[in-house]
Each structure stands twice: as C-alpha cells, then as structure tokens.
C-alpha cells in the first residue's frame, strides 16, 4: 500500500513539478467561470460544454508538455515553428475552408485548425529568438527584418479576413520590440505614421469593417444592423445590475437578443447573469493571472525567456482587455475572443501552450545565471 501511495506521489510530483500553481489556479478558475457561462449561453445544452472540456483536456496536456521543455529548446523550435506557421497561412490563402465569409481554417479531415492560432505563439518566439541571437548588436536592418517578420503573418491574416486576430498578432510582435527596448522616439514615430496612414488604409478596409468603426463612433446610426451587437451587449451588461439576473436567468441571452453569445460576446452573458460583482471578480482573476505572469517574466533568466514571457503576458492582457472593452462598448467590434472563456478549442489550446511556456520559463529561472 505504502508503495502504491509512493508511486502516486511520484507521479503527482512529475505532473506538477514544472507546473506553476498560481498560474494554474487562476487559469482554471477563469476556465471554470467560462464553462458555467457557456452552459448558460448554450441554453443548457451540455454538448458544447463537453466539447470545450475535451479541448481543455488536450490543452492541459500540451501545456504540461510545453512546460517540461527547456526554454533553450523552445528557442530552437522558434524558427521552424514560424516558418511552419507562415506556410500554413499561405496554405489557408490557397485552399482554406471558408466559414462565414472568411477563409481562416485548414481542414485536415479529422479536425479543423486555424493557423493564425499557431502564429500567436510562433511570432513572439521567433522575434525573441532573433533578438537573443543578435543580443550584442541590434541594428537598423534587424529592426527592418523584425518588422518584416511581423508584417508577413499580419498581412496574411488580415486578408483572410480576420482583422481582429491580425491586429492582436501585430501587437504581440510589437510587444517583443517594445520589451527589447525599441526607442520611444521610433514608437512615437510609428504612432504618427499609423495616424497619418489611416486615411490611406480606410479605403482598403472591407465594408463591414468600415461599418463597425462608423457604428462604434455612433451606435445609434443603425441600431438594427451593425449597431445591434453593441447595443444588445450594453443592454445585457447594464440590465445585469450589481448582482446580476442569476445564472441561466439572463433575458437578453435566453431570448436570443445577444448575438455571438458563445464566442466573442460571452462576456455579455456573464455580465448579465452575474452583474457587476461577477464582472469585477473576473477582472480580478485576469489581473491575478497576468500579475503572476509579470512576476515570472521579471524573474526570467535569459533575454529569450524574458521577451517571450513578456509578450505572452501582454497578449493575455490584450485579448482580455480588447474583448471586454468591445463588449462593453469602449472599442469598436473586432472579432477577438475572451481568453479562456469564449467557446473554441484552438484558442484554448494556444492559450494553454502560452501558459506552458510561462511555466517553462518559471521552472528554469535559476538555471542560467545572469
């Protein structure tokens, strides 16, 4: 008997050895909230929840594997992963599956896969690896190359079209540059350039993207058309009040007024049923997760680890912020899911891989002396 328990304890130790308990606890709490909300958003149809739980199992497995890989090895994988990601994006452009008018998916017969999700991880890894490699000298051509590395996948994803993801991946690349020490002047210059380019970019946006931005500026413009999502989400949140309408009792949700309520607008479901208390609690959980990730980044041992961990941390933040800001009407509607909560297996897997990388960095913090 004792031996058996010893074995169990040994297995447990192997399982948790490189798993960061703080990160894990915060992530699982958020996932738990997500499953509960998903059950409500699916009108108590358990099959969506089961599907999400299965994705979660797979995601946890991958997280564990990644957490057990040394950051050095991750760095070696950066270039191949990035190349693979770009190739897959090209494959999508050539023969991807069209869903809702966007060509975002690759169909492998047994499973569908969004290569843009791979890019979320591969791009920061790639850039971090590049800056680590050129740690001693970072010159203008390096910067140009970094911008090119960012621009290629961003352009491919933007033309799917998936503006939200393209912007988020562009942001993740930018985070690496920022953390690597890109001068403020250049960042300011980029900002000015972006503002100046806006009128030039505008005609190249899709009609629906232009609509979204116009609607954001004036939601009353077309309350039944493009403004509908935003208006109904605000109504859901606002009518939830402080304590919410209670689980499974959201009228906006259950009477079909809320669109996209499993995916991009799931926060409106949560906010309607759990109110301000719930919303604030979720913010706190995200803050704990991100805070822990910050600590891990702070203590990372190598430049590669720091840049990767920092970019992943800020990505988590960006996704959570942009989604909640969009649902609550602070930002225009861009298709960005709420991390760990929105329904969708691929996103869950890539997020947990990100967590696995953070855990790997944390486990290796003292292995290399700075």
């Amino acid at each position: 008997m004792g031996k058996f328990f010893a074995l169990l304890a040994r297995i447990w130790e192997v399982l948790v050895r490189r798993v960061d308990s703080y990160l894990m606890a915060a992530a699982l709490a958020i996932v738990g909230i997500g499953l509960i909300t998903l059950f409500s958003a699916s009108d108590q149809n358990i099959s969506r929840v089961t599907s999400q739980v299965m994705s979660l199992g797979f995601a946890l497995l991958l997280m564990w594997i990644v957490a057990n890989i040394q950051p050095r090895q991750l760095a070696r994988a950066a270039l191949p992963l990035y190349i693979l990601g770009v190739l897959l994006l090209i494959a999508v452009a050539l023969g991807g599956t069209v869903v809702n008018g966007s060509r975002r998916w690759l169909n492998f017969g047994f499973a569908r896969f969004q290569p843009s999700e791979l890019m979320k991880i591969a791009l920061p890894l790639m850039l971090a690896w590049y800056f680590q490699k050129h740690e001693t000298r970072v010159r203008f051509r390096d910067f140009i190359l970094a911008v090119a590395l960012i621009a290629a996948p961003v352009w491919l994803i933007k033309r799917e079209p998936d503006l939200g993801t393209a912007l988020m991946i562009g942001a993740s690349g930018f985070y690496v540059l920022y953390l690597a020490g890109l001068s403020w002047k250049i960042m300011l210059g980029l900002l000015v350039a972006a503002a100046a380019a806006a009128p030039l970019v505008w005609p190249h946006l899709h009609d629906y993207q232009q609509e979204r931005i116009l609607t954001f500026l004036d939601p009353a413009r077309d309350p039944l058309g493009t403004g509908y999502h935003s208006t109904q989400a605000s109504i859901a949140l606002g009518s939830g009040g402080v304590i919410g309408k209670g689980w499974l009792n959201g009228t906006q949700t259950h009477l079909d007024f809320l669109p996209e309520r499993h995916t991009d607008f799931i926060f409106a479901v949560f906010g309607e049923e759990f109110g301000l208390i719930g919303s604030a609690l979720l913010l706190v959980l995200y803050l704990l997760l991100i805070g822990r990730a910050f600590v891990i980044t702070m203590n990372a041992s190598t430049l590669f680890a720091r840049l990767t961990a920092g970019a992943i941390t800020l990505m988590f933040f960006s996704y959570a912020f942009v989604n909640m800001a969009m649902v609550s009407g602070l930002l225009p509607i861009v298709g960005v899911p709420l991390p760990l909560i929105s329904f969708g297996g691929t996103a869950l897997v890539s997020l947990f891989i990100g967590l696995g990388i953070l855990m790997s960095v944390q486990a290796n913090r003292k292995l290399v002396k700075t």
Partner: protein
C-alpha cells in the same frame, strides 16, 4: 549607423559594437515591463469604471431597455357585437379564421418571401395587389394579412415551413360575415380596414388605446352608426418575446370585453320579401311601424354584397360597384331625394283644412287645366277634359291636379313650408344612421339662398302638385305617412331596437323619441285618412289592391324626370328618362301596423310600378303571403299608359 534600441534612458551617441551590461539591461527591461504593468492596471481600471457605469449608474436605463426588448404588450381584439333582426335572425356576425400575416419590417426581401410563400399556400395576383396597397397605407411595424381564410391544410403546410419565413406568421383573426349578402346591405353596412380618416375619428373619441389591436371599423350603415357599441373593449396580454418577436410565454392577461349585440327593428323576412318584390327594378322602400318608429324594412335597390368589403375590396369589384350606372352603393332611402309628385297632396289638403283655406265639402270645378289670371300658360291636369266638380276627398282619391293648382295659387309658400316641416320634409327624420339627406322643402328663404332669386307664383303652382323644387327622401316620405297613420304623433324612425350588453346580459331598449307634435285637429286628420282609404279602394291604386282582405290607405305619386312637353309616353322614351313612381301607404287603415313609402326609379306611374310592391308587402306582413314573383314588371320597354294618378 543609428541606434534603434536604447540601453539607457539617456540617448547615447556611441556607435558601433558595444559592450553590454547585462545588469543594466535587465534593469532596463524591468522598467519597461513595469510601465506595461502600469498600463495593464490603468486599462483594467478603465474597464472596471465602464462596468460600474453600465451596471450601477445606468442599470435602470438598461433594465428598461431589456424589459422592453423582452416584454411585448399584445392587444386582444374583442369580439364584435352580433346584429340580429327583430326575431333574432343573425344579420352580421364574427367568426375566427386563420390569416397569413407578414411583418414587413422583419422581412429582408418582401418579393422573395411572398414568392416563397406562394409555393406553400395559394397566393393570387389579387392577394398581392391588396397586400401592396395595405403596405402603402400602413406604418411598417404592423403585420399585414397576405392571405385570409387559410384552409387547415394550408395552415399545416405553413407550420412545417415556418422556419424559412422569419417575420411571417399565422394568426387567428375575427372576420365579419353578413349571411344575407346583398339583402339589407344598406342597413347593416359593413366594416373594413381602418384608414387615416378613421384614425382621426378614433382619436376624437379618445379611444386610441382601445383600438390598438383593431384592424376593422364600421364604415357605413348600422356598423358605422353603432360602432362604439359593437366594438367592445380591447384586452391586453403581456407576453415575453424572443429576438425573433415570437411569444415565449404569457406573463399576464386582461381579457377583452365583447361588443354589444344589436337587435334591429328590421324584419329580415319582410326585407327579403320587399327586395324580391322589386325584381330588377331600382328604387327604395322604407317600412315603419307607426306606433314605435321601428324600421321594419329598409330597401335600396340594387344593393351590394357587404362581405366583399371586409378583407378590403379588390379593385375589380370596386370598379364594378362604384362605376355602375345603377349606383348600388347609393343608400337611396337615406340619400336619394326625389320630387314627391302627388304623394304630397294629402299633406297639402291637411294644411288647407288646418289653415281654413278649404273645408272638406268645398268643391271646385276642374276643366282640365289651370291658368294664372292674366297669363297664357295652362297648367294641365292629367285627365284631359278634367274631373268636373271635385271636393277634397275626391281630389285625393282621383289625384286631381287642378284642385291643388288652385289651392297653391291661394297659399303662401312659406306657410306651406312651415306646415309640411312638421312631417320632417326638408328636415332630418332622426333615423339612427349617418348621412341622412335633407332633401328640399322649398321656401322663399331657400330659393333666395339657392338661386339668388325671388319666389314666383308659378313656383308655387308646380310645388302644389309635388313637382318643382320639392325633393324628399324615401325615409322622409315613410316618416310622413307614418305620422298620419299614427294620428299625428311623430316618432323618430330607428333601425336598432335594443342593445344587449354581453358582459352583464342587460338589454337597453332604444327609447321612443317623439320628434314634434303635429298641430292638426283630429277631425281634419280623419278627412285625410278617409280619403287615403279611398285611393286603393276606388282611386288611382285600385287596380293594385283588388280583393285585399284588409283595408289599406295610400297615395300614388309620379315624379317627373324629364318633361315630355305634352307628348305621350312611348316605347322610344329611354328607360332612365321615365318618371319615378311613388306609393305611400299604411295598413290596416283603422289600426295601422305598417306604414311604407315605395319609390321605383323610372317606374312610370306610381299606380303601376310602386303600388303593387306596397300590396305585396302588406300581403306578406299582414297575411303572411309570400310574393311569388317581382310585383312590378321589369325595366324593359313598356306599353303606353293613359291612366291618371
């Protein structure tokens, strides 16, 4: 080469390969990370602020919006009251049927949707046309019927395909039905969809809320006049709806209160007999129970089928009705004014007795014409050579024109006007439906107003035999003869006898309304009534009343449409230029149960065309004998007649 990445806050001018300071670099990285961290805090703080704003400060606003999203107040249309005749036979009722309704605001492509629906249920071209018209008239949040009266099979077929048609629904609606069709159509009138003018009417009643769910309103006849009794009180249902507008569950319900049921004074079998007696003749008939003012029959020929109007009449039928030269939509008893012809004579005789211008026994000599002193024109009597010596009774029985030319020559038109007004000539009788025409009872003031001219003696002479400016409606004629029959007591004629409140079962009788007391002496009235009995017995209508088992009283009349200038009628005279035939009568003479006025348009002499219809009515009403065939010949060419009335 420019340095793009700084290792320090201070810009450095050192170029080229540089020795790195890992410690300092780490510090630098951490500073950047802290800045990012601060941004995270600020951003999440912003989110929290937004949540507090939405969920705390704006909560009640959004709560209201969510509730109005979720809760719809659905009016429940009350059952419209039933109309029956005096014996309880149903004249108008409502029944429930399924309609296919489209809410245009929720349909993306109307034409496509309608095409799709046409593959499931029958949608004819006229349904589309009607729908298009409704669409133009409506505010677009309403649901509009595309098809009415769906069969059970069609309902089932749509139910299966319903998911394909958002914004299209099957609804159970109440429809109005008039079982007798054309018979009594001008009495019941009809209901039809509410238009802008009706909305103004409803607003004026302060009934806007009560008509929220109502699509139909009374347009003419009793349906119009008693709209507020018939409509009822709208109920309300509070339902929870989903984003597609479909009701999920009922939260509360206030049941509607059905409209009041109307019992009409009309006897529908008498009405049917009367309409049958007309055959294909145009004309009007009003029968009144003298003692009560009950309108027993109210005929306007030709009629129309009120059922056509309920769903909104289609353009083809509308054109047929509206442009027919027979004017089936004209309510002749109420809105047709015709010269009374000789039917005015008993009333003028009564006026002469009352004023003392004549006594009953006083005789005049009729040479066959009348001449105004000093003028060349001869006012001719119908009988060539004249009636010889004529007293008042004979003047009515044989309808002697010369007697009345003379009388008119001696009487001031304003005195005549004042006296005849008592019989509601030139005034409203007060019948309980809208649109009653005044007709013309001429006077000096009237002529001044109408023609800006003074009154001439010749005007009086023409008016003296009911021609000239005189124009009375059949309702006025029936009312006048009914006043005589009722010994001078005038009661307002009414189509509705009692009103039943469905909710509490109480019945309100329409009170008898005496309109005006007649200032005549009974002995004078007796002279007139006696003379009127002579008309069907031995006078102008004797032929029509041969062998009756009751004693009736009546007076023929012929109103000129076209002056023949002394020529005889012939087959060549266009049917529509022939004279209108009148007969006013009551029976039994001693205790009248029914008083009627019959008008046959272009019927020729009253004795020939109108009196037989009166006979048929009396035979049916008093003896229960059903008329076998039309009581008058049809509208075809007829033989010349030289009989006088």
């Amino acid at each position: 080469m420019r340095r793009l990445f700084t290792n320090r806050d201070r810009p450095s001018t050192i170029s080229g390969p540089e020795l790195r300071d890992p410690q300092r670099e780490l510090l630098h990285f951490r500073r950047r990370l802290l800045i990012a961290g601060a941004m995270v805090i600020v951003a999440f703080g912003g989110l929290l602020g937004r949540f507090v704003y939405l969920q705390l400060f704006q909560h009640s606003h959004y709560q209201t919006l969510a509730e109005s999203n979720r809760i719809a107040i659905v009016p429940i249309v009350p059952n419209r009251g039933v109309m029956t005749d005096r014996n309880g036979v149903v004249l108008a009722q409502s029944y429930s049927a399924y309609t296919l309704e489209v809410t245009p605001s929720r349909v993306k492509n109307l034409d496509e949707t309608i095409d799709g629906l046409a593959t499931i249920v029958e949608v004819q071209a006229r349904d589309r046309k009607r729908f298009k018209r409704l669409l133009e008239e409506s505010k677009n949040f309403e649901s509009l019927p595309l098809r009415t009266r769906l069969s059970d099979e069609e309902v089932a077929r749509f139910a299966v395909n319903r998911y394909r048609f958002p914004g299209v629904e099957i609804k159970a609606r109440l429809f109005r039905q008039y079982p007798f069709g054309e018979v009594a159509s001008h009495v019941t009138g009809y209901i039809s969809r509410i238009n802008d003018k009706d909305v103004e009417r409803i607003d004026a009643w302060n009934e806007t809320a009560n008509y929220k769910g109502s699509d139909y309103i009374g347009k003419v006849g009793v349906e119009l006049a008693y709209e507020r009794d018939l409509h009822g009180t709208t109920g309300w249902e509070e339902v929870e709806v989903d984003a597609g507008g479909r009701a999920v569950r009922t939260l509360s319900r206030t049941p509607p209160i059905s409209g009041n049921n109307l019992k009409l004074a009309l006897d529908i079998r008498l009405q049917q007999a009367a309409e049958q007696a007309f055959g294909d003749r145009r004309g009007a008939l009003v029968a009144i129970e003298p003692a009560t003012g009950d309108v027993l029959a109210f005929v306007s020929k030709p009629g129309f089928d009120p059922n056509l109007f309920v769903d909104g009449i289609d353009p083809t039928n509308w054109e047929l009705l509206n442009e027919s030269p027979d004017k089936p939509l004209l309510n002749r008893p109420l809105r047709g004014a015709y010269p009374p012809g000789s039917t005015i004579k008993p009333f003028l005789a009564l006026a002469a007795l009352t004023s003392g211008k004549r006594t009953a026994a006083q005789t005049i000599f009729d040479p066959g014409f009348y001449q105004i002193a000093g003028a060349a024109h001869r006012f001719r009597d119908d009988k060539p050579g004249g009636h010889g010596y004529v007293d008042m009774t004979k003047s009515i029985v044989v309808s002697c024109d010369t007697y009345y030319y003379m009388l008119a020559g001696e009487t001031d038109i304003d005195d005549t006007h004042a006296f005849l007004s008592q019989f509601s000539f030139g005034r409203k009788t007060g019948i309980d439906v809208e649109g009653e025409l005044l007709g013309v009872l001429p006077s000096r003031a009237w002529k001044r107003e109408r023609f800006k001219d003074k009154w001439y003696l010749g005007d009086s002479i023409s008016a003296g035999i009911g021609q000239g400016y005189n124009a009375f409606t059949p309702v006025q004629q029936a009312q006048a003869i009914s006043i005589i029959a009722n010994d001078g007591v005038a009661l307002a004629p009414h189509l509705v006898k009692s009103i039943e409140n469905v909710k509490d079962g109480s019945v309100r009788q329409i009170a008898l309304q005496s309109t005006q007391a007649l200032h005549v002496k009974p002995e004078h009235l007796a002279v007139i009534k006696n003379a009127l009995v002579g008309v069907p017995r031995e006078g102008t209508s004797a032929q029509a009343f041969v062998g009756t088992k009751y004693v009736s009283a009546g007076k023929t009349g012929t109103s000129q449409v076209y002056s023949l200038k002394g020529e005889k009628y012939s087959k060549q005279v266009d049917e529509r230029l022939r004279d209108h035939a009148w007969y006013v009568a009551y029976a039994p003479a001693d205790k009248p149960r029914i008083a009627i006025a019959v008008l046959v348009e272009n019927g020729g002499f009253g004795a020939q065309a109108a009196a037989p219809i009166a006979r048929a009515i009396f035979d049916y009403y008093l003896l229960g004998q059903k008329p076998r065939a039309p009581a008058v010949p049809g509208t075809g060419p007829r033989e010349p007649e030289d009989e006088s009335d």
